[in-house]
Amino acid sequence: MADLSTNFIGIKSPNPYWLASAPPTDKAYNVVRAFKAGWGGVVWKTLGEDPPVVNVSSRYGAIGYKGNRVAGFNNIELISDRPLEVNLQEIKQVKRDWPDRAMIVSLMVPCTEDSWKNILKRIEDTEADGIELNFGCPHGMSERGMGAAVGQVPEYVEMVARWCKQYSRMPVIVKLTPNITNILSSARAAVRGGADAVSLINTINSITSVNLDLMAPEPTVDGKGTHGGYCGPAVKPIALHMVAEIARDPECKNIPISGIGGVETWRDAAEFMALGAGTVQVCTAAMHYGFTIVDDMNDGLANWMDSKGYRRIEDFRARAVPNVTDWQHLNINYQIVAQIDQDRCIKCGLCHIACEDTSHQAISALRVDGARRYEVVDEECVGCNLCLHVCPVENCITMKEIDNGKPFLTWKDDPRNPMNQKAAE
């Protein structure tokens, strides 16, 4: 059986699944239940200075997709709304009771050296394994100059990271906000500030939906709403991209990454890890189904690893990173065309209408003795994959590679590239 244990910047946990800093890690009661269910670690709900924040009523929004609930989730909650001392005592007790689990404390205090210096001492006393700097909260806290307001300014990220390394001996994880144009600017700032790791993504600015009766955004608070932070399955592609960008950036110097955003299954986790993440963090999936989901996450990952012959997570971690590249390095001579397995085809015609109306008119709709038949016109197919994605039958449409005899060629070297024509002149 594969070994799922991880050692992430010196923080050990029996498996790579940490609960992200959020309601599931708000207090000892939840965290103990999570550990009992098998979670490898937690990032405690973000702590701030006293007096604690006050939350509004009606806090979450969600979007479903065709009957599936919570495809995307959003919240307008702030950081922990309990007194600092209560949290600290609970953290200390839980870590003592569960020494083999990772206990990371998320922090967010005003952007002054003293504020950080003071709170770091008190965290150290809890014997937690490390801290995570919440530079990501995109709503409420950012209006007060914290969270994303810090995370969006690389200089602040670097500065605060440096203070934390200076005033504590604990490993420091910087949690990045995705609400910027280029994730590398803040990731590099964290590296410069001496952070031990980055975690990402925090939530994305969002309005999940508009209530057309109230004419107000959801979640609505007494007739008004505000943008919230978006998370859940819908954000995974965005998170994967940002993780990959950091993993392959020389200036980020292979900084360890804790991957976050839409992790719901072992497969999601494996994808994050293939792109370089050393651990993953989960919030929405736990809020949707409860803590027991970790059971299949562990079991499924181990079974998959066994089937692939991976004994430890390090055996496959970051394996996909070298295959993430820029468009200009792709082989422009590579050719595939769609292929329909007529035995599997149920004749829904979706491939035809998709290609006919919106792509390359490469699937013909025929009637053979009155029966429907959909056929690919190889010469017209550009290999875009659209039909494969809309076909409701698994493995019915596949893309077959065409041996066109052409050599590997990138756009850079392609004679059709105007830049090359200029050079030739």
Binding site: K66, G67, I346, K347, C348, G349, L350, H352, I353, A365, R372, P392, V393
Partner: protein, 451 residues
């Protein structure tokens, strides 16, 4: 032999009042919103959808289902009703397992079609509950069309003609309009006087006058209608019932299934209907199944349905046969009635001969017999078209084909100005087919009237 004299046992009020209510409640209740959304989202929104082709009225099925999925339920209902004004009835009575749902691509994928019929009901019930009639009439043409028969064919034709701006008078022999929706279809498929509510809904278009108690051939004549109206549509259904041609048919307790069902459908109190303890049903179509199930639900103890051929030859669909069996009806195949024996003028027993196919595939008796005790025997071997109202001076006014009114693809008969559709013309005897016939004929009549 036993000394005890077992008398024919036909009684009323076999069940408690609440049992009747339960037994004749909606067989398939309307979907709630949540379930409807889940089901609607199962639809792939197919291109050139096979289900549309399999619906005799050609309803835009993916279109109306998509609208349910977006909570545009009114839009969904309108999409259905514009192709089929009896969308509500059809949602309840269509044998979807041999129509739209049989063609659904989900069968090929997972043996489970989208439940199109139930979604159709979800949408149409919603609209009908609002009391709204969603269609308006085109500018009036001043033309007048006579429709004979207020069944699905006649009323579908009348509604479409009214929409197109013509005025319509419908002549109906019976006391209520609706045809077999009102008098024939199983009660549990259309409880709560749905047929009447649907006719009321349909008439809201305006321009349609229904004259009940007016029979062609008795109160009016075809020549008269042709003289007084710009066009005539015949939607008279099948007024006759095929005879068994077995000895003893005249005994008390031997009845036509359709007559009994008509009484049942009109009954205010099911407890007043006479119900035999032991009942034999002869026939293999939906009428046979319907009477068998309904008589069971009225409290009959043993119900045996006897059909002269095998299960796959039965007119009733597999689904209907199963429903009968679930309702405790015993189905015996490969036997034909020979005679009905009685006592004191009342039937006591039905005698059958086993059948089989000969080398040429013809049905023959084996010579072996068996008897089934019966207090009541229902004849359900088919209805037939009665051409008498279309006769004048001893000859048919229009051409017949296979004992029904001959028509072209648009319902035109051999007689000038006269169209026909529904059960009285060749084709499948289904509500939905009748609706389509009426609609097609209306469009043809409209074209003819506009010259």
């Amino acid at each position: 032999m036993s000394e005890i004299d077992i008398r024919p046992d036909i009684a009323t009020g076999r069940l408690k009042a609440e049992q009747y209510t339960e037994n004749f409640d909606d067989l398939v209740p309307v979907l709630d919103r949540k379930t409807a959304l889940v089901e609607a989202n199962r639809c792939y929104f197919c291109y050139d959808a096979p289900c549309i082709e399999a619906c005799p009225t050609g309803i835009d099925i993916p279109g109306f289902i998509k609208k349910i999925a977006t909570d545009n339920v009114r839009g969904s209902a309108v999409r259905i009703l514009e192709a089929n004004i009896f969308g509500g009835a059809c949602a309840r009575v269509c044998p979807t397992e041999i129509l739209c749902e049989q063609a659904c691509v989900r069968n090929a994928q997972e043996n489970k079609p989208v439940t199109i019929g139930r979604l159709q009901r979800y949408a149409t019930d919603h609209l009908m509950a609002t009391g709204e009639h969603p269609f308006t009439r085109a500018p009036l043409t001043g033309r007048k069309v006579a429709v004979v028969g207020a069944g699905p064919a006649g009323l579908s034709c009348a509604h479409r003609l009214a929409m197109l701006g013509h005025d319509v008078v419908v002549f109906e022999a019976k006391a209520h309009p609706g045809g077999l929706n009102e008098y024939g279809v199983a009660e549990y498929k259309m409880p709560d006087h749905f047929a009447r509510a649907e006719v009321d809904f349909l008439l809201k278009i305006g321009g349609i006058e229904i004259r009940t108690g007016q029979a062609l051939g008795r109160d009016i004549t075809l020549s008269g209608l042709r003289r007084d109206y710009d066009a005539v549509f015949l939607g008279m259904g099948l007024a006759g019932v095929k005879a068994l041609e077995a000895e003893g048919e005249e005994l008390a307790g031997v009845m036509n299934a359709v007559d009994y069902i008509a009484d049942l459908r009109q009954a205010d109190d099911f407890g007043r209907l006479p119900v035999g303890r032991k009942v034999v049903v002869i026939g293999g179509g939906n009428t046979a199944i319907d009477i068998a199930i309904q008589i069971r639900r009225l409290g009959a103890e043993d119900v045996t349905l006897v059909y002269r051929r095998g299960p796959s030859e039965m007119g009733a669909t597999h689904h209907e046969q199963e429903l009968a069996q679930v309702n405790g009806v015993r189905i015996k195949h490969w036997a034909r009635p020979v005679k009905l024996t009685g006592q004191g003028g009342a039937v006591r027993e039905a005698v059958f001969e086993y059948t089989q196919l000969d080398a040429d595939g013809r049905l023959i008796g084996t010579g072996d017999h068996f008897a089934v005790p019966a207090d009541m025997v229902f004849k359900a071997i088919g209805q037939s078209f009665v051409p008498d109202p279309l006769r004048q001076d001893g000859r048919d006014l229009l051409e017949l084909k296979g004992a029904k009114i001959a028509v072209d693809a648009e319902g035109k008969t051999s007689l000038d100005k006269v169209w026909a559709g529904g059960d009285c013309t060749p084709g499948q005897d289904l509500t939905v087919a009748a609706v389509q016939d009426g609609k097609i004929a209306a469009l043809a009549i409209d074209r003819a009237l506009r010259g």
